[in-house]
């Protein structure tokens, strides 16, 4: 039986008081992150369902409207995100092997890739705005000479909602990655304790995975 009183006892600073040992803490944190990822999948699945229903109702409209999305921009973003997942994985590995410098570099590269993603997205969205391809009642692409199918505004509504929500997750990810990078620089992570790096990695891989599904469905389908 372990005493649970308030007397000070030697334990690493990262071990929180309600856990018995670091394995329990790390294991709990990982399970918690996986459960959170399940909630994210369910949230995005509502939007994917909406997409499939629109495609079921208006197949030609979707195929016609999505031709106006930039496959180049989407393609660049796909490569950028996959690269960022790679750098993220390397960052986790570096933390696991006590390699502080490499961990910091990999996290920085991941954040940089995320930044490139958002910049490309900015240009994509600007182009849509400038051509009147806006969601719902703001849609006015015909003013710019685009003769799109009748319910194209619904497609752009779905497009902006899906990529917009994904973009929010990228931004939040950049914030969390920055915080983990600061902690890594301070030397808080080691082979005994790299849980935050691992868990932010899990989150980042999910953000990448959502994009892997978004890109073909929105940009590539024929």
């Amino acid at each position: 039986m372990r005493p649970q009183g308030a007397e000070p006892h030697p334990h690493p600073s990262y071990l929180q008081h309600h856990f018995d040992n670091r394995e329990q803490q790390a294991s709990a944190a990982k399970l918690g992150m996986w459960v959170f990822l399940a909630t994210e999948i369910l949230m995005f699945s509502g939007l994917f369902l909406g997409y499939f229903i629109i495609r079921m109702f208006y197949p030609e409209m979707v195929l016609g409207a999505h031709e106006h999305l930039s496959k180049t921009a989407g393609g660049i973003n796909t490569v950028v995100l996959i690269t960022s997942s790679f750098t993220m994985a390397l960052g986790v590995r570096a933390a696991q092997t006590n390699n502080r410098k490499q961990c910091v570099w990999m996290l920085a590269l991941t954040i940089l890739c995320a930044g490139i993603f958002m910049v490309v997205k900015y240009f994509e969205y600007s182009s849509k705005f400038h051509h009147g391809m806006l969601p719902g009642r703001f849609y006015h692409a015909y003013d710019f000479g685009y003769d799109l199918p009748k319910y194209a505004h619904v497609f752009f509504g779905i497009y902006f909602t899906m990529t917009g929500l994904h973009g929010v997750h990228v931004l939040v990810g950049m914030g969390v990655l920055t915080w983990v990078l600061i902690r890594a620089k301070r030397g808080e992570f080691s082979a005994e304790y790299y849980t935050p790096v691992e868990n932010v990695g899990l989150y980042w891989h999910l953000v990448d995975l959502v994009w892997i599904f978004l890109f073909p469905l929105l940009y590539l389908v024929k």
């Binding site: 372990r2 909406g50 969601p135």
Partner: protein, 558 residues
């Protein structure tokens, strides 16, 4: 349960946990000052704060209900115009669903007792728990703002196209519900990880109290269903602001799609509302009849099956929406199926009571009340699950009676029972038992007086959400309204003697009821770290001494 010889939960004297340790300050006073409460990571303090807020919103929702019922005393408009009547029942529904019933048992009783029943010091993520609480407060602020911004008149179900076109404060209400959803998700996530990773040595899955199984199944539903509500409400807000057209037929969308999205969450949500109540009832029935629960594994697994099957029945809210006949048949069939694990519980509780040493304490009265009123509610759900019958009963008072019998007669009754069962443990005081029994009687009589004849009203054709009605329904409405006053009086009475006990109640022993789960070996109220030493569990939590039927007064220990 046997832990060691110094930790016998059947000692009803001084807390066995305090032997040799002196009386350490309880969690209530361990750290002083308002800030120590507002920034606490102690699951017990968070549980109490959730309890206070959910009960406060229960009062708000209850007052709205009394306003609705009072307006219905006569068929004419009395003090509420038609649109204000709509706002009033919307307020009642939205507050009760999102601020009271969904959070109450998990966030208040679950937070307080889940770690203790598992022999842990706290939940897996105490800081996340604190965040969950403040997210709840933020969501509640959005709801309060909605009231002051002119209210909401769509009903708590927000059906399109009305919700996308009405001028009332839809966005703030939807934002509030969205935010509250995150509080629910994070609480569920915390509980799942705590149950998996923080059980005391010897506490196997099959030695967990059934309340924990219930909270676990609830947490799975919270985590999987609530995100779908989040995206539904987001789409509704976007539809309202941007008119993307996903729910608007003029723009190529489908209003019934909203109903599918909405009920995909909201049907599992009703299982979030009731599963913890099932867990509580198992505790009340077993402890207050000093008899080992019958069918432990069946009850545990039935909670999990209800959680799973509950995801497959949402279409029974859409029988008359124009969905296909095939879909209707499938949803109807699966709706009948969910009754099976539910009935397993009712039969198990009844079998537990048989030859038990039943003590008609207030918690037992609420436990018995639950079995009675929930069964009525559940059976009438079967009526509604039958396609042909639902055509006549959809959107009538029959539906209103059904869900009040399960949500209030089930969920709230169980919560009040839990409050009494664990009052001594949470606050260290005993309430007056006679006052409790009177309160239970008033609540039981008032509840049935209010809602039973609503089944008849609905079957006779009275539509729901109407502030006026034909003269033939007048007497029944009067009966129902007077019933609501009796119910209100019973609840006020209950609040009064419970609050009085905080000042004048007898000091509570560690184990006033002779329970055998881990919370009964802690001090009443518990110390900040729950246990002086991590308990080691060697038996299940319903291991009561064998009931003495010899008439000689001697006890036979196992």
């Amino acid at each position: 349960m046997s832990t060691s010889t110094t930790m016998d939960p059947h000692q009803t004297g001084a807390s066995s946990e305090s032997h040799g340790h002196g009386r350490e300050p309880s969690y209530l006073v361990a750290k002083p000052g308002l800030w120590s409460w507002l920034a606490t990571v102690d699951h017990k303090r968070l549980g109490i704060m959730y309890l206070v807020l959910t009960l406060l919103f229960f009062l708000v929702g209850g007052v709205a209900a009394l306003a609705v019922r009072t307006e219905l005393l006569t068929p004419e408009g009395d003090f509420l115009t038609a649109i204000n009547y709509n706002k009033m029942f919307t307020l009642h529904g939205a507050v009760m669903v999102f601020l009271v019933i969904i959070p109450m048992v998990p966030a208040a009783f679950g937070n307080f007792f889940l770690p203790i029943m598992l022999g842990a010091k706290d939940v897996a993520f105490p800081r996340l728990n604190l965040m969950s609480f403040w997210i709840y407060v933020l969501g509640a602020c959005f709801f309060l703002y909605t009231i002051f911004a002119g209210g909401l008149d769509t009903g708590w179900t927000f059906y399109t196209p009305y919700s996308t076109t009405t001028g009332t404060a839809v966005i703030s209400a939807v934002a509030g519900a969205f935010i509250l959803g995150f509080s629910s998700i994070l609480t569920g996530l915390n509980f799942i990880v705590t149950v998996h990773k923080m059980r005391a040595p010897g506490l196997t899955w099959n030695r967990m109290p059934l309340f924990i199984w219930a909270l676990y199944a609830t947490a799975v539903v919270q985590v999987l269903a609530t995100p779908v509500l989040a995206i539904t409400l987001l789409l509704l807000a976007i539809e309202r602001t941007l008119n993307i057209g996903i729910f608007d037929p003029k723009m190529g969308g489908d209003p019934v799609l909203f109903q599918h999205f909405f009920w995909f969450y909201s049907h599992p949500a009703v299982y979030i509302m009731i599963l913890p109540g099932f867990g509580i009832t198992s505790e009340l029935i077993a402890v207050h009849s000093k008899k080992h629960i019958f069918g432990y594994k069946a009850i545990a697994l039935s909670s999990v099956s209800i959680a799973i099957i509950g995801f497959l029945v949402w279409g029974h809210h859409l029988f008359v929406s124009g969905q296909s006949e095939l879909a209707g048949v499938l949803f109807s069939f699966i709706t009948f199926a969910v009754a099976v694990p539910t009935a397993i519980k009712v039969f198990s509780w009844t079998a537990t009571l048989y030859k038990g040493a039943i003590d008609f304490t207030t918690p037992m009265l609420y436990g018995l009340m639950f079995i009675f009123t929930f069964t009525i509610g559940g059976l009438t759900g079967i009526f509604l699950g039958a396609l042909s019958i639902d055509v006549h009963l959809h959107d009538t008072y029959f539906v209103v009676a059904h869900f009040h019998y399960v949500m209030m007669g089930g969920g709230i009754i169980a919560a009040i029972g839990a409050l009494h069962h664990w009052w001594a443990k949470m606050f260290g005081r005993m309430y007056n038992e006679r006052a409790g029994q009177i309160g239970a009687l008033l609540v039981f009589v008032g509840f049935n007086m209010t809602f039973f004849n609503q089944f008849v009203l609905g079957q006779q054709g009275m539509p729901r959400r109407y502030y006026t009605y034909v003269e033939q329904f007048h007497d029944q409405h009067v009966l129902s309204t007077w019933g609501s006053y009796v119910l209100g009086a019973g609840l006020v009475w209950t609040a009064m003697y419970l609050i009085a006990s905080l000042f004048k109640g007898k000091a509570a022993p560690a184990n006033p009821w002779g329970g055998a789960s881990l919370e009964w070996i802690t001090q009443s109220p518990p110390i900040e770290h729950n246990f002086h030493e991590t308990p080691v569990v060697t038996a299940d939590p319903y291991n009561f001494p064998e009931i003495d039927r010899s008439g000689t007064g001697r006890h036979h220990e196992h």
